[in-house]
């Protein structure tokens, strides 16, 4: 088990190093200047720019810069944002929990929803219910998230007025509402963006769950369970469902990149103060340090997702436990 973890962590570290290297090369080799970021009001002369470049070490050869960057990274320093004039760790540290909240809720919701839909489909396979849900989940899966987000915003935010259209909290709300009130406020703001991400992802999970369940329902142990006299629900949930869990968990773990991608689009539609937006803005502003660090965090999250999926699979399927 420990050996397995060590190997996986080594692989994850390798991945993160690759991400950092590629991103670093990408942003530093690209045309454009970070020091001109948001320069509409900035009328700096070339000497000033040169001094700024020197201050951030941008005048040195790229290999040297990379060596410095890695050295700093090893000390846990991510550098400073050129645009926000703040340590990158702070900039991303504030945004990351928000994205994690959104992503985790969306992941959990999409998992539950996807498994539920897939289960109903598998239980009613071949019927019109299956057909309708099939088309529905395929349509969800095939819908661009930005588009779905706008539609949900229009319907539930603007037309029906049930939910706030943007932001993570209501900054104008009274501050004496207490922790519960604040949590409810966040929840209300969370619903639409999380639903957007969850619906798209749930489409994928439902399709997968249905397939895994139909396979499992054809397995001999399901026949055994039925021969024991179990009810169809018990057979579906306890026997087929349990054994279909592992592949679906894997898929859920692997959907971390998709959620990260979705967060870039969805966060800007719903004004969610998360990492996707910070990253997107940083790319355009050529805020090198933020871009590289964000890529690194994304890489860590992706690696973590697949690691957690593996652990969850080992939990769900005793055959796949390392000590089995």
């Amino acid at each position: 088990m420990l050996g397995f973890l060590a190997r996986r962590l080594a692989l994850a570290a390798l991945t993160v190093l690759a991400v950092v290297t590629i991103t670093f090369a990408l942003v530093h080799l690209a045309p454009g200047e970070p020091m001109l970021g948001n320069a509409e009001r900035m009328r700096a002369d070339s000497a000033t720019i040169a001094r700024q470049r020197a201050r951030f070490g941008l005048d040195r050869p790229i290999a040297t810069q990379f060596a410095f960057y890695l050295a700093n990274l090893a000390r846990g320093e991510l550098g400073e944002s050129f645009v926000r004039h703040r340590p990158v760790a702070l900039v991303l540290g504030e945004a990351l929990p928000n994205t994690l909240l959104l992503g985790a809720v969306a992941l959990a919701a999409s998992f539950l929803l996807g498994v539920a839909i897939g289960s109903v489909q598998a239980a009613r396979r071949g019927t019109w219910v299956d057909g309708v849900l099939s088309i529905g989940s395929l349509a969800c899966y095939s819908t661009p998230s930005f588009w779905l987000g706008l539609v949900l915003l229009l319907v539930f935010g603007q037309q029906l007025g049930w939910l706030p259209v943007a932001g993570m909290t209501d900054p104008a709300a009274p501050e004496h509402v207490g922790p519960l009130g604040r949590a409810l406020d966040v929840l209300r703001h969370l619903l639409l963006p999380a639903a957007t991400l969850a619906l798209v992802n749930a489409g994928a999970i439902a399709r997968f769950e249905r397939g895994a369940l139909v396979d499992a329902l054809g397995a001999e142990f399901v026949r055994t369970a039925r021969a024991k006299g179990l009810s169809p629900a018990a057979v579906l949930v306890k026997h087929a469902g349990r054994s279909a869990l592992a592949p679906v968990l894997t898929l859920a773990g692997l959907s971390v990149p998709a959620l990260l991608t979705g967060s870039v689009l969805v966060e800007s539609v719903f004004g969610w103060p998360g990492m996707g937006r910070v990253t997107y803005e940083a790319i355009f502003a050529r805020d090198y340090n933020v871009v590289t660090a964000a890529a690194m965090i994304a890489g860590i999250l992706v690696a973590l997702g697949s690691l957690l999926a593996d652990l969850a699979v080992a939990r769900a399927d005793p055959r796949q436990r390392p000590d089995a």
């Binding site: 001999e220 142990f221 055994t224 369970a225 021969a227 349990r242 054994s243 005793p318 089995a324």
Partner: protein
């Protein structure tokens, strides 16, 4: 023996007419939709099993014997369809007419199944103790702890050492023989009246097979249940059953007391089968073979289903489907030879075999 052409009802052992048989199958028909049409996997099958006896159901792959086992418990769905007019009676109760809930009360409780491949028949992600306890709780309102205790007791009974520890293990952590013991424990934990064992030892090595057979015999003695043993292995049938039914083409083609059948097979298929098996006890230079292949279940031949492969077949066999005919008391065969025994003219030479 008369040459009566009237279809015989399933054999009822003499002296038991008054009693309701444990299991009675009448005109069982099961169909499956397939790409090329409809497969008639079981096609008019009659079979009786009395309480406490061991009956063998023998046949080669594709003859419909496993489908029969599943059909008894209405487990052929969702693809399989049990035709209207079929009847499956357990102690007189028509199982095919039962509502779903009552049918579930029969499964595992009155009639239990043991399958061929214990590794795939056990749920890989559940502990074996839980899988057995689940069977108890499905039929009896007992506490979780009681069900668990019953499971461990049953595991001990099937000879699993360290039952308590094993109950916490998963199927993949057991050997093949142990897995099959678990399957048997699971089937018997509710003390069923009938155990249907579908090729229970085929996936096992011969030494393990011997263990399991001993175990089954012992448990049958202890628990007094009837066993329907489904197998392709004639040796197994000979050693363990009292009565045998041979299946071919979705039907019973011969049925008799075990000794009678092995002593003198009435149906040419049974005869061919016995001759084709390499024998440990009496080595032969050359095996007799049944020529050709089993026809697909979508298109059984007209007349006798075995006639294209039968060395004795004559015109009548090609056109008229024979019913089960009584060749001797308690010995029936689905063959016109029963009526026209003179036609069983065959030299020592095996039937026309392709080079």
């Amino acid at each position: 023996m008369t040459g009566s052409a009237t279809p015989a009802t399933p054999a009822t052992p003499p002296g038991r007419e008054a009693r309701v048989p444990l299991l009675e199958l009448r005109d069982l028909r099961v169909t499956f939709p397939v790409a090329g049409g409809v497969a008639r996997a079981v096609d008019g099958l009659d079979l009786l099993v009395e309480a406490g006896e061991t009956v063998g159901l023998v046949g080669e792959s594709g003859c419909g014997k496993s489908v029969t086992a599943l059909a008894i418990l209405r487990l052929v769905g969702p693809d399989g369809h049990i035709a209207h007019g079929s009847s499956v009676r357990l102690e007189g109760r028509d199982l095919l007419a039962l509502p779903g809930k009552e049918m579930r009360a029969v499964r595992g409780n009155h009639v239990a199944l043991v399958f061929q491949e214990p590794l795939s028949a056990l749920n890989p992600v559940l502990r074996i103790g839980a899988q057995i306890a689940e069977a108890v709780r499905a039929h009896e309102s007992v506490t979780r702890a009681t069900a668990r205790w019953r499971a461990i007791e049953m595991l001990t009974m099937v000879g699993l050492p360290e039952a308590e520890r094993r109950a916490r293990q998963y199927p993949h952590q057991l050997s093949g023989g142990m897995r099959q013991r678990v399957m048997i424990a699971m089937a018997l934990v509710c003390r069923p009246k009938l155990l249907i064992a579908d090729e229970p030892t085929t996936a096992l090595d011969v030494t393990i097979q011997a263990e399991i057979l001993e175990l089954l015999a012992e448990l049958q003695r202890k628990l007094g249940m009837a066993v329907l043993l489904i197998t392709h292995n004639l040796g197994l049938v000979a050693e363990t059953t009292q009565r045998v039914a041979v299946m071919y083409g979705g039907q019973i083609v011969e049925e008799a007391a075990t000794e009678a059948l092995f002593a003198r097979a009435a149906h040419p298929y049974t005869e061919g089968l016995l001759a084709a098996v390499p024998r440990l006890d009496e080595p032969r230079e050359r095996l007799r073979v049944i020529p050709g292949q089993v026809p697909p279940a979508t298109s059984w031949p007209a007349g006798c289903r075995f006639h294209p492969r039968c060395p004795y077949a004559w015109e009548r066999c090609r056109t008229e489907a024979p019913p089960l005919l009584e060749a001797a008391p308690g010995h029936r065969a689905r063959c016109w030879l029963v009526e026209e025994p003179a036609r069983r003219t065959r030299a020592d030479a095996p039937p026309g075999e392709k080079p």
